[in-house]
Structure formats: structure tokens, C-alpha cells
Amino acid sequence: MLQIDDTTSNVNAVIAQHGSQYDEIYVAAHEGSVNRQNLSRVAASADFSGVREDPLYEALLGFVERPDSGTLARLCKVIKKKPDLDLAQRLSILKHRLAHLFTPIDIDLQGLMATNFREDYWREVVRAYEEIEPSKLVEKAERIKDEFCDEFCKDVNQRQKQRINGVWVQAKEQILEMMPLIEALTGRDMKRCKEQADKFREAFSRFLAIFEELAEELAKSSPETK
């Protein structure tokens, strides 16, 4: 573990490195002094891993290779710079997080339909859904939307908030359309699953299309989306 104190700007950095290369690097850069008794907590709260194209990773490597006040200042500047996401990117994040809940079901359903609900495949699939409660999925989707709004939409204007809420209302309608199939899967009801398969896939497709259409619309009016 290495501690760098830059007394000129009262910024400290703590670095912990594990592995032979830069596989795991933990950095805390902050103003004020470091209480060494809290080092493990500080390091754990600042863990970071990234790709070389990431400006943060680049600044981090620069600092680790040549730790001085210049590279530390550069690192602090990059860490403090918040990502500037436009509305399309924010909605893309929401779409991605929500889609994670249903994409595996869509894949399993495609597999089941392609094999005409072959018995061994069916057993494999339903085993994966034993622990899932359909109502919890809807709650989880709601929670994702709420967390998304808290995390990403604090600074958006009223009109943009209305658009995000409008998209969510449409998306939720489609989620509710998908639920009977999910209930059939978790209830191991093959007959109902077959009946609901097309309806699920149509609703999932519309669910994705809602975000795609809005993304296209936003791309066409890009100055407004910032």
C-alpha cells in the first residue's frame, strides 16, 4: 500500500495494488488527511477497475507509474468529472437494466419453442425459474425505475422527467403483458406456457421498441436531449 500526500493542494491518495500487473488497483484520492486506521475502509470504498480507453484508467495508470503531484492532480480532476449523459443515454441505461430481467426468459422461450417444448429442455428451463416469484419481478422493475430516477435524473428538467415517466408507463404495460408467461414458467404449467409464448414475445418486442423509438426520436432532435 502506498500513500501519496500532496501538501500543496491538501489532497491525499491511498493506493493498494494486488496482482503482478494492474489487475486490481484500489485508489482513494480525497482532500484532507488520511486516518491510517481507516485505510482498509477507504480503499474498499474506492475500488476501481476499467479498460485502457477509459480516461479514469488512463489517469490511474499515469499516477501509479509516476506518482507525483502532477499525475495526482490529473487523476483527481478525472475522478471529479461526472459523466455527462444525454437523455438518450440515460434511457438506454434504464432500458438495459429493465431488459436484464426479461431477456433470459426470452432466450429460454425461443429455445423451448424451437424444440416444441421438448421434455428434457422444459425441465432444465423450469428448474432455473424455481426460485422466481413473478410479482417480485414487477416490484424489481419498479425499484430499478425508481433507483434510476434517483441516480440519473436529478438534474433533468420537468419536460424530460415527464418523458421518462411516460416511457415507463408504456414499458410497464408491456411488462404486465409478459407476466402470464412468467407465471406459467414458475408454475411449471407447460400448456399455459405454450398458450402465452407468442404473447410474451410480442410484448417483449414492444417493450424494447418503446425505448428504440424514443432513442431514434431523441437522436433526430439531439440538441433538445442534453
Binding site: E53, Q89, H96, R97, H100, T103, P104, D108, E124, F204
Partner: protein
Amino acid sequence: LIVDDIVEYLHALQRALMDICDVDIAQSLEEAKNALSENTSLLLVDICLDESKPGIDRGGVEVLKWAKAHYPKIPVVMMSAYRDFDAAVECLNLGATKFLKKPIDIAELKSLVKELVK
């Protein structure tokens, strides 16, 4: 070998392809490095390997670069949920065989796997 950060997605793809091949899974570059070998016949990688940065993170490109540097003969198919033309071009320039848009069409994927693994 399929590389994606969403474990449920990996397991669903594993089930979907179980009839035609054995599927190993990895959730990160490090896991992919450990799982890849000369016996790997195909690598399927999602571009984004950090679900907190969808459309921004390109950890999958690092997997592609590493695989091409160490196992150049293994075909690599990239996947993305985003209409990212630049990423697709970059991946193809780095040696990816194909770029698939999520949600994946399983019939198309099976046909591609059969073609590349034969």
C-alpha cells in the same frame, strides 16, 4: 465460451446451445482469460461487461483484443444491445467474425455456431 456480465443471460444461452455444443461461461476479462484455451472453438462476447455502464463500457472489446493476441484462430462473435456502429466497425477491424444485435435470435445464433464450430 460465452462472456457476459449477466449470469442469468449466460445460463439461458448455455441451455439454448446445449444441444449443439458444450458451453463454458465467463463474466469478466479475467474469467475469460482463465477459461480460454486452444480447445475453445468459438468465443461469444458482449461488448458491455459492466451493467452499471451500458452503452459506455466496452470491456468486451478488451476480451476480443486479448483473445486475438493469444488465440488468433478462435473465431470471435461480438454482441451488443446498442446500435453502436462505431463499436461494430472497431470489433470487425480487430478481427471479430460477426457482430450480433441483442436480443439474440436463437435460431440465428445456433446456425452461426454450427457454421463456425464445424
